[in-house]
Symmetry: C2
């Protein structure tokens, strides 16, 4: 993930390249670190937790959302997972092929598709999710205990500001 250049080097080089522009480097640093962190954490989880189950990151998120909300409507799953409904169609097909999930037409509304976990899907989540959480603890560990609430709040505020 990290290149051969340090972040300081990059910022100095950027400053030089952009010396004729008026820029907010602090905002830039926040955004840059946000994406680096998200990408690094995601790759870390895919390799260390998800790989042995053969699940992609998105597949896991979809499985998780379904687990929490089942029977879940696909539009809600897509929104909650942060992916388009077109993407969800493909991911659900993958999860169905793995027999972790089952699609069902809604009786009340013929347009809707309800998604449920199979017995295997539930069993997988029962072991996978605690393993996932153990890694979450590991990943967050460099942030001081008393700062974590603040960190979550700031990230939440950024999201709310965009989507509001």
């Amino acid at each position: 993930m990290t290149g051969s250049h340090t972040l300081g080097e990059t910022e100095a080089r950027v400053a030089n390249r952009l010396s004729h522009m008026t820029l907010d480097f602090e905002a830039m640093a926040v955004m840059s670190n946000l994406f680096r962190a998200a990408s690094a954490v995601r790759n870390h989880f895919e390799r260390n937790v998800l790989a042995e189950s053969g699940l992609s990151w998105t597949a896991f998120v979809v499985l998780w959302v379904t687990w929490i909300w089942e029977p879940a409507e696909t539009r809600d799953i897509a929104a909650e997972a942060g992916i388009s409904k077109a993407t969800l169609t493909g991911v659900l097909s993958t999860l169905e092929k793995l027999e972790l999930v089952r699609r069902e037409r809604s009786a009340n509304d013929g347009r809707l598709v309800l998604v449920k976990l199979t017995t295997q899907g539930k069993a997988l989540m029962e072991t996978l999710f605690p393993a996932f959480n153990r890694q979450e603890i590991e990943v967050v560990s460099p942030v001081a205990d008393e700062k974590r609430g603040e960190l979550a709040d700031m990230l939440r505020a950024i999201t709310a500001n965009i989507e509001g």
Copy 2:
């Protein structure tokens, strides 16, 4: 991005579903908000800044890294952009088709490929990057001025902890 359920609802439902497990909900909240924020910001940028240029998020990042470091070696671009070299090959082909970038064999080392921006590529970045930064300022605005450094530091620490 946000579903019809609030984050509080989700957490309550998760707590109920997982009541028999020992979990760190604060670590979970930090990770959850990290991905929500990254995803929301990325989508926001793709739709509001990048769409008119016909660039994807990744294409922009690659273009940006190349702009800063040109002539840039592909292995460095991939590392700096946080994508695999296989992915970079495809993205560079896209950027070359758009005539924003040029590939060149290195004279010193026949294995290396050097990447440079075309005149059009430079012109695009001259207007696109300031527009990008203006949106960055907007996105970060809900975080108090004096907290932004801390936020960047915490995210940096998480990344370093994983990759170290």
